[in-house]
Subunit: 380 residues, 2 copies
């Protein structure tokens, strides 16, 4: 970790030194053989990460761009879209659907709780013309993981498209696109892939293509048929200039993930997440999600102890060399969040817990020193 | 130039070694103080490059994303938009306007010719409800520079918005946004700024804001009011995650441009472009643009000699270590293009001309050896 701060926010996350260096390679043509080779190899590997045989595309845009792509390709004004909401990012899906003229039905959960699949079923029973259901697999703002598999089983009975934002979980948690019948699934570069922001990934099922082909699409930059067509050209390419430098990073990061083994990468994320949870609980803190079985594998949200100000805590933690996040929107000042995704190992999460313990002690919170170490010993 | 190929296509262009290295800095938070500082400093410098006091924003998307932003923020279905077309990229503006439901009026010039301002005037006289006029300052596909200043003088008389794509010329050619009354102006990162693809820049005038505020905008990722609002937050930020690594590159590249002096950078581009033109003419080749006074400062398009196949020529040139481009769409197989933007100096353009001369000789074209050097001596 050296002299640099340890970046433990829920994306962007710290990168491998070799991946940082890979980005210094000279610029090349975006329509040449070498770019085509990297593009195809990265996409083939992304399909394995997504566990899908669907088409997968790389967009030069951050995750919200992929969310816009998902909506703009299937929604026309007046279409009904069911948005499940439980935090800032799932609510963003609703906002985007509204921008594109959808008539939005909402299944809203309290922030900190997960989406209730039964309520999705109720809405789908009431309305026979719902074109798509949106679900945020990993709600980064609250540290909650939603039951996509259960929701999918319901949605499939109604022939409705299932759109899943797995931006901050894909690669770090188990999101098998084909097994879960996800029609459109999204991932972000700066999360579990541990490369810079600027890329997002999107998978598209046959069912989604059928809908897309019949939709008057109000987007050009994110028009998915154009991406499919360009990929079939020789050499394979993107319709608009791909960020070559991010492709260098992605190629290297995927190599690291495959060398470690995709299942091992996911197991590591779950292990680190468990350490994060046990650690903060042993310090006497409370997790923000309403129950531990819905806790995210990549971000841990923790209630602030009484009388402690979020900014002060974060600054203290930072004084010890670790950057964590606060709450967003209505959770501002109420929680803090630890991101643990990408290259994270025991070393970084332990350094983070140590910094948090020290910061709490400095702020006068009663913490049983190193109780967190004992709690963690039990799960190692 | 070492062992790497010399990249002389019209973007992406080769980068300074120090800018490549600047991208290896560790990842940081996209909402932290350091990102806010870089964002503001880069935007202030971009304003100087654009010669504007208008708002300027950085989008994490390639140039086409900025074109979509320009259209999606001001056009509603049924709005009249006048698109001036003279090549692939000016025609793209028309396609985007159509995607967003505009009723498009077109002033089309032959590919290789520039837009005729008088014809813009005729159309504006015929229709009193044209909401915006699009012009591509530097038509990368044909090597033509359009008379934006003349077109602007006309457009201003009608109170119509002027949208200018300066993606491949801003920074390398003279595009004074305020002096020319450009309401929305676009630039791309991988062109004269000599950083990787993935960023685009957009300026917005007061008049444009008035229109944007009254427009029902069918975009979320490119919603310009959201960018303005986020920039006012503390620390300043972007609404969706900015590509930190590209911001490192932009910061460094702008330093290089300001150290050299913006006028000097532009003069260098004009000088190199002149060398490119004199060089190919001395080899007996013909420029593609119909007259030399409309030739671009950043890309030179050249007709293929009779009997020479484009791919063969490009491969031969590449055998000598230089990558140039072919023609696009209907110009495929008819022209080749030399990009000379960003960090380009006499050294690179001379190496390029040398490689082209050698390739032509190899292919049996009669070229008076080193006539190009004599022609260039006269203008040095």
């Amino acid at each position: 970790m050296g002299r640099d701060e340890l970046l433990m926010i829920p994306g962007p996350t710290f990168m491998a030194e070799r991946t940082l260096k890979a980005m210094s390679k000279p610029m090349i043509s975006h329509r040449g053989e070498e770019t085509g080779r990297m593009l195809i190899e990265c996409i083939e590997k992304l399909k394995k990460v997504f566990r899908t045989e669907n088409d997968v595309f790389i967009l030069t845009a951050s995750g919200t761009g992929a969310m816009e792509a998902a909506i703009a390709n299937v929604v026309e004004p007046g279409d009904r879209v069911l948005c499940t909401t439980c935090g800032k990012f799932s609510e963003r899906f609703k906002k985007i659907a509204e921008v594109f003229g959808a008539e939005v039905l909402e299944v809203a959960s309290e922030w900190g709780d997960a989406v209730d699949p039964e309520r999705v079923k109720e809405i789908l029973d009431e309305h026979d013309d719902v074109k798509a259901v949106t679900v945020t697999h990993n709600e980064t703002s609250t540290g909650v993981r939603n039951p996509v598999e259960e929701i999918s089983r319901i949605v499939k009975d109604y022939g409705t498209l299932l759109i899943v934002d797995a931006i901050s979980s894909m690669g770090g948690d188990h999101v098998p696109v084909d097994k879960w019948n996800i029609d459109i699934c999204l991932a972000g570069s700066q999360k579990c892939f541990a490369i810079p922001p600027g890329f997002s990934f999107i998978s598209v099922s046959d069912h989604a293509w059928e809908v897309i082909n019949k939709t008057r699409r109000r987007t050009f930059y994110f028009d998915l048929p154009a991406y499919r067509e360009s990929l079939r050209r020789k050499p394979p390419q993107t319709p608009y200039t791909i960020s070559i430098t991010l492709l260098y990073a992605l190629e290297d990061a995927l190599k690291l993930m495959f060398d470690e083994g995709l299942d091992n990468v996911i197991a590591r994320h779950h292990h680190v997440a468990k350490i994060a949870r046990e650690g903060v609980k042993a310090m006497g803190l409370r997790l923000f999600p309403v129950s531990e079985d819905i806790c995210s594998a990549t971000v841990t949200a923790v209630r602030l102890p009484d009388g402690i100000r979020e900014k002060e805590l974060r600054q203290k933690v930072r004084d010890y060399g670790v950057v964590i996040s606060g709450g967003q929107d209505k959770l501002s000042g109420k929680i803090f969040r630890i991101g643990h995704m990408g290259r994270v190992t025991e070393r970084e999460i332990l350094a983070t817990l140590q910094a948090i313990q020290q910061a709490l002690l400095d702020l006068g919170v009663k913490v049983e020193t190193d109780a967190y170490m004992q709690a963690i010993e039990k799960i190692r």
